[in-house]
Subunit: 176 residues, 2 copies
């Protein structure tokens, strides 16, 4: 270069499509942690579990049947878990933060799997006993069959909303 | 080259580590379709479901309780499904063929999910009624409590062996 003849030659900027080595990464499906669909699922789980718990508690003799006591315990656990996850989802949405940490997602999968299994087991046991009382023994005149049925149905609905959460989070963990 | 002076010079073969553009692909975990572990899981599911079915059928009054009839139906379905999958796994092992077709894996996931849910629901309903008869009403002297308990436990064990099949196949589908 000739120092006595300095010149600034305008040069084109290099193309900036560097992309930072794009990883193949799945998009956010609604219902995954940290999405609006996920928050809606959590709130649905919580509401159905609260209704199931309240209805079962409003019968005075639920404690004489082990399965109904178990339903109350399982719905309490489901309420606490879904409420905690709803708060986390709401926070993630507010601060626009993605919940994609491997450890966090694993924790969600295990928690969802355990609570879904417990809630479903409680709902099935209660359904078996409700059908036994109502259809097989025909003793609905001495028992709160309607309330038992409604509480069982609400527990099933709560499980029905935990399952997509579990499957989508498991999918997210597997497809990382 | 001088044609009057032919010579064969031994040359080194080029390195053959061409790798054929290695795709990122998960390895075969034992328990997935087409593995020896998968075949063992299928045979376990089948055996436990057959034992649960046989024990429940050996009680003469199972048909008076809806949940016990449902257990019989669910274990029959589980037997058929697990036997079919065991045959497919055995065939895949014999001809050393990998079961990695997307459609086939999806079918396995749906079938495993449905049969696992049905078997678990039947086991939970039977468990609820068995506990009701044995612990809450204390009428084991008039009922086959031991047989009910054993059949329920076998159904739970069958479900316990379907779950890893379902989770591993779902993992395989998600991580493709």
């Amino acid at each position: 270069m000739n120092p006595s003849h300095p010149a600034v030659h305008p040069v084109e900027a290099p193309p900036t499509d560097v992309h930072h080595a794009p990883r193949v990464r799945m998009k956010d499906y609604q219902g995954m942690p940290g999405t609006l669909g996920g928050l809606a699922l959590r709130l649905g789980q919580f509401c159905f579990a609260v209704v199931a718990f309240s209805i079962m508690l409003s019968t005075d003799d639920f404690s004489t049947v082990t399965a109904f006591c178990y339903l109350v315990a399982a719905t309490v656990l489901q309420c606490l878990w879904s409420l905690a996850l709803a708060v986390i989802d709401g926070y993630a949405l507010l601060v626009k933060r993605s919940l994609r940490n491997s450890l966090v997602v694993s924790l969600f999968v295990v928690g969802d799997g355990v609570t879904a299994t417990l809630t479903f087991a409680a709902a099935c046991a209660s359904a078996g006993i409700t059908v036994l009382i109502g259809n097989d023994l025909r003793e609905c005149d001495q028992n709160h069959c309607g309330k038992y049925e409604t509480a069982t149905a609400m527990a099933f609905l709560s499980w029905f909303m935990v399952s997509p959460s579990f499957l989508l989070t498991f999918w997210l963990l597997a497809s990382r």
